[in-house]
């Protein structure tokens, strides 16, 4: 009764929720300069005779974990200091500065970015978390989810790649974030006041100022109006090219694989007849077949390229017969991709070949920023085992040795050890060079026989399923993605492949077989321990 009374009391609020301090939350990862930025903001306010308070909770987050710094500031009133809170309150934060894109997402989940209050300043570069890295395939979080959320929760957003901008201008991200804050106009302080703080910091001042100003320009490209160009901002939040490169490819269910442009390079006359054959494939699959063909020829030779096209032609014919036109020839496109990958298995020859190429050294020199007058050497960490060497031998000899475990073990003892290979010393280079040139051995080798058997069986299954369940057949082609890596990793990949293949045959008659196949593949790609995969298989076994 009484409570009901109060709601209808004809009273004004006892007082307005009086003016509150300006609040700024900085979400960063340990060691990302969040502390420096916090100090700068505090000094900035204090220099304007405001009272500023900052707090942080480093705790265990100090080492690469997520950390939050919090600043409140307000001018004193008749000599009285404001009483400032020690942590952000959801729904009551004026500025959130995120030094990384997923951290911006995390700040939204904390409820500190709200449409009525918050200016969100975020760098959209990614620093991947360990869980994203350890997936045995594609495990990177989806940026678009953050972009989408920012669009609806921030009063105003200033999003761009501050890390890249800072590096380009010879500084660190904190300077860029400080510039974005200045440009946002969220604090009633002049640009000069910000610059003063940087100048007084005394360390890397020039780079910091350059970065600060570049960030300001980025936010308000046309400085003549003075005020921050708020309305233009969302447009600028569009991903930069770096972002596009860092975002994962779409690997959805029946893989609408992005169609690469066909390479216009066809200078080598030996390649021309093969390239011509691609034109007989469905148009949707040509670009992928073009890429696949080039890969296969580069891996081995023109004849191998012809073999690739022969196989692909057969698959494309089956596709057409199965009504592939209605599916945009997804089967042929996927076949073009995964067949090329299956044919270009990783072996010692390929590794040696890649390591001795000219482009490889060029790339490393560029990565290391090698300058004139400097000398560069690289050391490879190789650990060949007898399995790899034996695989190279002609099939008959290889099998003969395999059949003699004692001999095999004796040889393995001599072969299998960690070797540090100085790539650009003459003896080692020569050894790698010769090994890289042994492609002529490949197609008669024991390894090749095994790979061909695997390939034929896999394609046969896919072809068999094609008429019965088109989507499932496409999924089966994509299973090849699980086979990759070297030695034990390769063996594990094969065992995963076998697991999903045998499971799929159990449920191939079901309508939802393709969905299960995709789930199986996802589980295998996302989880290194195979627990998830085994779990999915166990689930399937409960109903088949």
């Amino acid at each position: 009764m009484m409570k009901d009374d109060t709601i209808h009391l004809p009273l004004a609020a006892v007082g307005p929720a009086t003016e509150r301090p300006i609040s700024i939350a900085i979400v960063a990862m340990g060691g990302q300069g969040g502390g420096v930025l916090t100090d700068w903001i505090v000094k900035l306010a204090e220099d304007q005779n405001w009272v500023a308070q900052s707090t942080s909770v480093p705790g265990v987050a100090q080492r690469t974990g997520a950390t939050i710094y919090y600043v409140e500031m307000m001018p004193p009133l008749d000599g009285r200091k404001p009483i400032l809170a020690q942590m952000p309150t959801p729904g009551d934060v004026d500025v959130v500065i995120a030094s990384e894109f997923m951290e911006a997402g995390r700040s939204i989940l904390r409820g500190i970015v709200t449409p009525k209050r918050t200016t969100l300043i975020a760098s959209n570069h990614r620093s991947l978390s360990v869980t994203e890295k350890i997936a045995p395939g594609e495990g990177i979080a989806d940026n678009s989810a953050v972009t989408g959320a920012i669009g609806v929760v921030a009063k105003r957003e200033i999003v761009f790649n501050m890390e890249e901008l800072a590096v380009r201008n010879g500084s660190v991200i904190s300077s860029a974030m400080f510039g974005a804050l200045a440009a946002s106009g969220a604090l009633p302080f002049a640009r000069e006041a910000y610059l003063d703080i940087i100048r007084k910091s005394g360390k890397g001042v020039e780079g910091s100022i350059r970065t600060f100003e570049a960030a300001m320009r980025h936010v308000e490209p046309d400085d003549t109006e003075g005020g921050p160009a708020a309305t233009e901002l969302p447009a600028q939040a569009a991903p930069s090219s770096e972002m596009a490169a860092a975002s994962p490819p779409n690997l959805g269910p029946s893989a609408p694989i992005e169609t690469p442009a066909e390479s216009s390079f066809d200078g080598d006359p030996r390649l021309k007849p093969l390239l011509a054959r691609i034109q007989s494939l469905p148009v949707e699959a040509r670009a992928m077949a073009d890429a696949g063909l080039r890969k296969v020829v580069d891996y081995q030779d023109v004849a191998y390229g012809a073999e690739y096209l022969d196989l692909l032609d057969g698959l494309a014919r089956d596709d057409a017969a199965a009504g592939g036109g209605a599916h945009a020839f997804a089967f042929t496109t996927n076949a073009a991709k995964y067949l090329a990958n299956a044919m270009c298995y990783d072996d010692v020859i390929r590794v040696a070949d890649l390591k001795t190429r000219m482009q490889r050294r060029d790339r490393i020199e560029k990565d290391m920023g090698l300058r004139d007058g400097q000398v560069m050497q690289t050391t490879e960490f190789m650990h060949p085992r007898m399995e790899e060497v034996n695989g190279l031998l002609p099939a008959g000899l290889g099998r003969w040795i395999e059949a003699r475990p004692k001999l095999f073990a004796w040889l393995d003892k001599r072969v299998s050890k960690g070797r540090r290979v100085k790539t650009y010393s003459l003896p080692w280079f020569a050894a790698l060079y010769i090994m890289g040139g042994m492609r002529f051995l490949r197609r008669r080798s024991l390894r090749h026989q095994g790979e061909v058997a695997h390939r034929d069986q896999w394609l046969a299954t896919a072809q068999r399923l094609l008429n019965q369940n088109y989507a499932l057949a496409v999924e089966v082609l994509q299973f090849q993605r699980l086979v990759k890596g070297y030695s034990d990793t390769h063996a594990r990949g094969m065992s995963k492949f076998d697991k999903v293949m045998s499971t799929v045959t159990l449920l191939e008659t079901r309508d939802d077989a393709a969905d299960w196949a995709r789930r199986l593949r996802d589980a295998a790609v996302k989880d290194g321990s195979e627990k998830q995969l085994d779990g999915t298989i166990a689930t399937i076994r409960t109903f088949v």
Binding site: L9, L11, V14, G15, A17, T18, S54, P58, G59, R63, T64, R80, P82, I83, G91, G105, L109, G111, I112, V113, S127, V130, K133, I134, P136, G137, G139, I140, A141, V146, G148, A149, V152, V153, P248, S263, A287, M288, R294, D298, V351, K355, T356, I364, D367, M368, G373, V375, Q377, T379, E380, F381, H383, G418, F429, Y433, G485, S487, D488, T489
Partner: protein
């Protein structure tokens, strides 16, 4: 040498009367100690107290001028025992540590100290690591204060108030012959603020004076019958003296209108700022603390001053006790005060506020609102809209985000020497199966998280080895215990290794020796390798272990040698020798090493010296994107990148330019036979003539060969 240098901040410790101090809370506390005329200080590092220890270590000159003895205590018990200097002599002393963990360790000494009582002011600064961001179990120090009868100060989060309470705290300690605890929460320790300084005070009675005129008094020693007398003294003399002092010097504060209020709020001092913000949301305060209802702010939370509480509550319908954490000691105490006096004011507390967890402004606002709705709805009036993020969190776009944003657990730094230790453990695990692993406190505890997922329990600092002692069973798989060098010297040498020797425990004990107390900020410890002018470093862990009776000891001087690390571990696990197998795995903490070495390298390069700079890389076309290397690493500089190749689905490994060339990834790839993608690039800065000559001719031959093959190959793309 600590991770952070406070050389500049130390100058602030010299500020004199009337000058304004601006800086971190923990520095303000340090300054307050000097203003109080302490003779000796000590403690043990750990968040949020580490910076206090670092500042003191950097402040040697200032301390020397004032004649203050600073000890880097071996552990918290050592620090607490040091306060015994104040038992017989009029010496002021202070020690500091992370609480409750440090208080747990120190409690034996504290109980003895509190029983006998003190002559000079004795203070324990406890960094209350409670709530968000805490790295320890969620408990309160309050219980320790009560059980040993030490006064507990909990000042408002305001530098002036904290500094004042430290000065008054020493006086209180002396007036009541009782040691005092001053509790500061994590955020207050790291809070930037200001206060007006006073001159530092040089103690008039010095440590030398004490040593030259030793005193003893049997009645101060805890032994029957003195112990019984001391108990009575605590109750009859010291407690009343403390209550008088606290009341007289107005250590507790009153805010807002005290007359004719229907309701009021009683708070722990530390809650003040967030309570004001909560009241502001409800329209009951402005940002400067102009209140519409009364607050009784307990800057001293033990003892409770009965008369003050009674006076505050009398005439009010209800009061709300704002007390963080459990159990609700203060709420119970207030109820007792009121019942004894038959004052019928209702006491609310944990009925409207949560029993555990951070008291954020949001939580407090909800609690205070519920309290006022029940007991004084008129004061709330028609409420201004309060901040509420719930509608935003319910948006579909935000809900979707919940499944996307990955957790970001803390992990080992780039180049950490502990990474290869755990990578090796993973490799051995693959061979010999999983083992029971007891973890310890320190950076190495990050092993319990992805990607390593190693470690079943952690029982306290230096107690990793001790916590395997039950598994002293013959013939089964051996237990593995991990302990850092910090934990080793803190107590692990005796509690873990000595214990295992004495009980003939066959388990495996790995001591992670990274030359510093790294997790707490890189402080020196007895086995640190650096030269330290104030301490004796370079005390060998291996020798200590041998000295205590271990026969099977393996010293590994480069943990990055994954093959050796793995083989040693395998040997330890399969050895049939009796007694503990101790592996001391030593390599310098990379964070500290980089700070030490980087400037030297840059200087050498600038000076024209020949310097080889190393960095690791991945051949992106050799890497197949399986990420097995990540599952054995988790190095921040080892990440993945998406290739611009339609044929590739999975991102490949990539090493960014933060790589410090520790070599772990190459070593792991080799030891685990992962793949040949990793390489080390050595760039010679300022090469010699011979370097240049050799490189030039080698590359001539190599380029010839490369051109030759490129010419024969079918060109598939623009070169």
């Amino acid at each position: 040498m600590a991770e952070r240098s406070f050389a500049r901040e130390v100058e602030d410790l010299r500020l004199g009367d009337g000058e304004e101090f601006r800086g971190e809370g923990i520095l303000a506390i340090t300054k307050a100690l000097l203003q109080s005329g302490v003779s000796y200080v000590g403690g043990y590092q750990g968040s949020p107290i580490s910076h206090l220890m670092d500042v003191l270590a950097d402040a040697k000159d200032v301390l020397d001028e004032l004649g203050v003895n600073f000890q880097s205590s071996a552990n918290e018990a050592t620090a607490a025992a040091m306060l015994s200097a104040s038992v017989m002599y009029p010496l002021r002393g202070a020690v500091a540590w992370k609480s409750t963990v440090g208080t747990n360790v120190a409690s034996d000494a504290l109980a003895n100290l509190a029983s006998g009582g003190v002559t000079g002011g004795a203070m324990v600064i406890v960094g209350e690591d409670y709530g968000e961001g805490s790295s320890i179990m969620q408990e309160r120090t309050h219980a320790f204060a009560m059980k040993s009868q030490m006064w507990l100060l909990d000042p408002r989060p305001d530098h002036t108030c904290i500094v004042d309470m430290i000065e008054k705290g020493f006086q209180l300690s002396e007036a009541s012959n009782t040691p005092v605890m001053l509790e500061v929460r994590v955020r207050s320790c790291h809070m930037h603020g200001s206060f007006i300084a006073k001159d530092n005070v040089k103690p008039s009675f010095t440590l030398q004076d004490a040593l030259n005129n030793p005193k003893r008094d049997l009645s101060r020693i805890v032994l029957p019958p003195a112990a019984y007398v001391q108990e009575q003294e605590k109750i009859k003399v010291r407690m009343p003296a403390a209550i008088d002092f606290i009341h007289e010097h107005k250590l507790n504060e009153y805010f807002g209108p005290q007359e004719n209020a229907k309701t009021g709020i009683v708070i722990q001092g530390g809650m003040y700022n967030n309570v004001i913000r909560a009241l502001q949301y409800l329209g009951l305060s402005d940002a400067y603390g102009t209140l519409k209802l009364p607050i009784y702010c307990m800057n001293v939370t033990y003892p409770v001053i009965d008369t003050e509480v009674a006076e505050f509550c009398r005439g009010k319908d209800a009061v709300l006790m704002v007390e963080e954490g459990q159990p609700e000691y203060l709420e119970q105490a207030i109820n007792t005060v009121l019942r004894r006096r038959d004052i019928n004011t209702k006491v609310a507390g944990k009925d409207v506020l949560p029993m555990g967890g951070d008291y954020t402004a949001q939580v407090l606002m909800e609690g205070i609102q519920a309290f006022l709705e029940q007991h004084d709805p008129m004061i709330l009036g028609n409420r201004p809209p309060v901040p509420d993020a719930r509608p935003v969190l319910d948006l579909p776009e935000v809900k979707r985000l919940r499944d996307v944003v990955p957790p970001r657990p803390p992990g080992l730094c780039t180049g950490c020497p502990e990474r290869p230790i755990f990578a090796s453990m993973k490799l051995v695990e693959e061979e010999l199966g999983e083992h029971h692993v007891s973890a310890d406190i320190g950076c190495h505890l990050f092993s319990i998280l992805p990607p390593f997922n190693i470690g079943a329990t952690t029982m306290g600092f230096g107690l990793g080895p001790a916590s395997t002692s039950a598994f002293n069973v013959k013939g089964a798989k051996k237990s593995i215990a991990i302990m850092g060098d910090g934990g080793f010297w803190h107590n692990g040498l005796t509690s873990g290794i000595g214990n295992a020797v004495f009980n003939k425990h066959d388990g495996v004990f790995i001591i992670v020796d990274n030359f510093y107390s790294s997790a707490t900020g890189g402080q020196d410890i007895p086995s640190s390798r650096a030269w330290n002018k104030n301490r004796q470093t370079n005390n060998s862990i291996t020798k200590a272990v041998e000295g205590i009776g271990v026969n099977w000891v393996r010293q590994i001087d480069r943990t990055y040698d994954v093959t050796k690390m793995r083989d040693t571990l395998r040997e330890a696990l399969t050895s049939t020798e009796e007694g503990p197998k101790v592996i001391v795995a030593s390599s310098e903490c990379m964070l500290n090493k980089q700070r030490r070495v980087k400037p030297l390298v840059n200087k050498a390069i600038k000076g024209g010296e020949r310097v080889v700079k190393e960095r690791y890389g991945v051949d992106e076309d050799v890497c197949t994107g399986d990420h097995a290397c990540m599952r054995l690493s988790g190095c921040p500089s080892l990440s993945v990148k998406v290739l611009d190749d339609p044929l590739r689905d999975d991102p490949v490994a990539a090493i960014d330019n933060t790589c410090v060339a520790c070599g772990n990834c190459g070593e792991v790839a080799e030891a685990a036979v992962l793949c040949p993608s990793f390489f080390r690039a050595d760039v010679i800065h300022n090469p010699t003539k011979w370097d240049q000559f050799k490189a030039k001719w080698t590359m001539k031959v190599i380029t010839y060969l490369q051109r030759r093959r490129a010419g024969r190959r079918v060109q598939v793309a623009v070169a």
